[in-house]
Amino acid sequence: MSDTRILAADGTPLKKKLAQSMFRTKLRAFGLVCPLLALIISAFVLPILFMLSAAVYDDSYSSLMPESTTAMQEWDGESPITEAMAAAMVSDLIRARENKDIGKVANRVNREYSGATSLFKSTSRSAKKFEPPYLEALLAKDKDWNDKELWQGIKIASNTYTLGYIANAIDMRAKATGGFEPQDELRQIHITLFIRTIEISFIVTVACLLLGYPVAYLMANLPLRTSNLLLILVLMPFWTSLLVRTTAWIAMLQGQGVMNDLFVAFGVANDEDRFSLIYNKTGTLIAMTHIMLPFMIMPLYSVMKTISPAYVRAAKSMGATNWTAFWKVYFPQSVPGIGAGSLLVFILAIGYYITPALVGGQDGQMISNIIDFHMRKSLNWNLAAALGFVLLVFVLFFFWIYDRVVGIDNMKLG
């Protein structure tokens, strides 16, 4: 077959020559995107990976209490507490006290066993004076050391690599003897919030589609002068600060706000019994729909702009009614815009946080508000990371579903 090869002018096979020149082009292209790639890796991918690793990695106990960690790892979590475990604990407590690490250790164990903070701190203060047998010394100091649940909590805290936080994120809890069990019913919250987050995101997406589709249609089909005006009206809120828009909704919807005053004036509500439109789920839905609307309208508009009016005219000339022409001819061509807009709105909504925080009250909070709580208030960054991981899995799952149902190639941003 070699005699049929096509050669370039200098005698090298054309295939090879082509590969060479393609390689140079690719190299240049890579060189051009390199700065952006470096930025994305260093400022986006690495921090996310680093944060996600906190969901399964926690050395706050094992690095500060090494002897006790070894002893706890050997313990099965059920049999009686041994002198060796107590001795390792006392020796670590003394060291942690001297290094001023006792607070970190105590707060870590306290997440598993309420009351550990004061127990560890007070015991470590007198640990230096303890004499063997250490188990009795601990019990003499505080009878809580006799509680097996405390030691089980310590064993869980001593795991450097743990699935405990991810289990927490789905309302489960690690057992000291291995495996998982459901979280105490009164402390279950995350599943509820994940479901609510998806529900709110879904409703917001549908609402945006219903409200945005006619607007985008008008913008794409009206004469340029009118449609430009519409475009500006759509973009104006988009350019306004998110906080300003959310606060404006508070002024509009609150009990003594504009909407309720109007309702009272028109006799829809009476003055004593005004509607609760804000600080609840309704408030979150209204404000989020408004804020997300441009993200739906813009992709729809840019897709509709490319749909030639000739198709609808052709359909009508062949006797289609207005509705049939729209539904059978126009609508299918706008589906890529619907796909793009819906995915954009849904994924933005699922991680939304400022608006629910301000107008959500108690039943309009989303999972991101709990992540924020663990980042800023409780300082349980590991749990925040685990919740973020679960959220990421959800987003990827919906992305996959979307790809299967609509096909990602069908998505068009313009």
Binding site: K100, D101, I102, G103, K104, A106, N107, N110, R111, S114, G115, A116, T117, S118, L119, K121, L186, R187, Q188, I189, T192, L193, R196, Q254, G255, Q256, Y279, G361, Q362, D363, Q365, I370, F373, M375, R376, K377, S378, L379, N380
Partner: protein
């Protein structure tokens, strides 16, 4: 442009940079809770201290908690020099190694010679923190809306006789205590009852009775706003914020002192502050007897030094308004006061926060 000229310009630029950084070395970033409270600190501490030392103070606001301090310390880029924190956060920051230790020897004695350690409220000076004020969580109502207003903590939970929305802080702190007090637990027994599972259930059951009528707030400036807007008929609040709305803005708000939950605010220095010496000087200056008394004439938070009490005068812009009776520590206000137990909260906050969040979401 000649070579010489451009060199001159470059060196001038370098010089001005050096001057700028020298100037910023003499500036201290003090972080506090914003609004009327920060204003009182600016007037009573920052301005006199700048006058004395020539160093400037940059004032920043935050919403409490030690997350930002933790982030700064762990990133090795500490930009805050002095932070005003609650007692439980002060203890936690110290435990977790996020705050510099402060030698109480830097604190000046009282004018009559009493050493600082016995002048401050007992046990309030901790390893890393120096207290400045006593503040309190109270509840308040608008007397122009309710002429025959609530009197006791039970009235706050009584939606039959006092219908309407209530504002509460979105946190179990102070709410659990007030709920138990409203359920008839004596102020001294609150934490004993809370230490049992049944006690916690009882507190949440009491909160349940008004859950549907509550608007939750987070920042201290919100409750006076909620009251002023008519969004709530009564709300828990920090007493100074309500006082400020009454004194400076002539709002018709009344404070109910029954079962007030009082706490301390303290100054800490984040670990690794670049201006530690300056920060220490600022803290020593700001917590002396006169400064603490001065601060009390801008907002109704009680000074943390006993020797400051006799020096507390009247409201800075209203000489007729004596500040003494406005303090949480005034005898008439203090009868049923509950002291926030930071140790109990240190032990139980993880569990209580989880349970509170779950209770809220369901």
């Amino acid at each position: 442009m000649t070579f010489k000229k451009s060199m001159t310009m470059a060196s001038a630029a370098v010089l001005s940079l050096a001057v700028a950084s020298a100037a910023s070395a003499e500036s201290l970033t003090v972080v506090s809770w914003g609004g009327a409270y920060t204003k009182s600190q600016v007037e009573a501490y920052h301005k006199p201290w700048t006058k004395k030392t020539g160093a400037s103070v940059v004032s920043e606001d935050y919403n409490g908690g030690i997350a930002e301090i933790k982030a700064q310390v762990e990133a090795g880029n500490v930009t805050w020099d002095v932070v005003d924190v609650e007692l439980s956060d002060a203890v936690r920051a110290c435990d977790e190694g996020l705050a510099e230790e402060i030698d109480p020897a830097i604190l000046p004695a009282a004018p009559d010679g009493t050493p600082a350690m016995s002048d401050f409220i007992e046990g309030s000076v901790t390893d890393c923190a120096i207290p400045s004020i006593v503040w309190s969580t109270i509840y308040a109502y608008d007397s122009s809306v309710m002429s025959n207003g609530p009197k006791t903590i039970s009235d706050f939970f009584d939606t039959a006789n006092f219908p309407g929305k209530r504002g509460m802080r979105k946190s179990p702190k102070a709410n659990l205590e007030m709920a138990l007090a409203a359920d008839g637990v004596a102020p001294g027994d609150i934490y004993e009852v809370l230490s049992t599972d049944a006690g916690v259930d009882r507190a949440f059951a009491k909160l349940d009775t008004i859950k549907d009528d509550v608007i939750w707030w987070e920042a201290g400036a919100q409750p006076p706003q909620l009251l002023a807007d008519g969004e709530v008929v009564m709300t828990t609040a920090y007493n100074g914020r309500i006082f400020n709305a009454v004194a400076s803005e002539d709002k018709p708000f009344e404070i109910v002192w029954d079962a007030q939950v009082y706490d301390l605010d303290l100054f800490i220095i984040p670990k690794g502050s670049k201006n530690k010496q300056l920060a220490l000087d600022f803290i020593a200056f700001s917590t002396d007897t006169q400064r603490l008394a001065d601060q009390a004439s801008y907002i109704s938070y009680g000074p943390a030094r006993k020797s400051s009490a006799p020096l507390v005068g009247s409201f800075h812009s209203k000489p007729s308004l004596a500040m003494g009776p406005q303090m949480p520590t005034a005898p008439d206000n203090f009868k049923t006061a509950i002291q926030n137990d930071f140790e109990w909260w240190a032990d139980n906050q993880d569990e209580m926060n989880e349970r509170f969040n779950a209770w809220l979401a369901n």
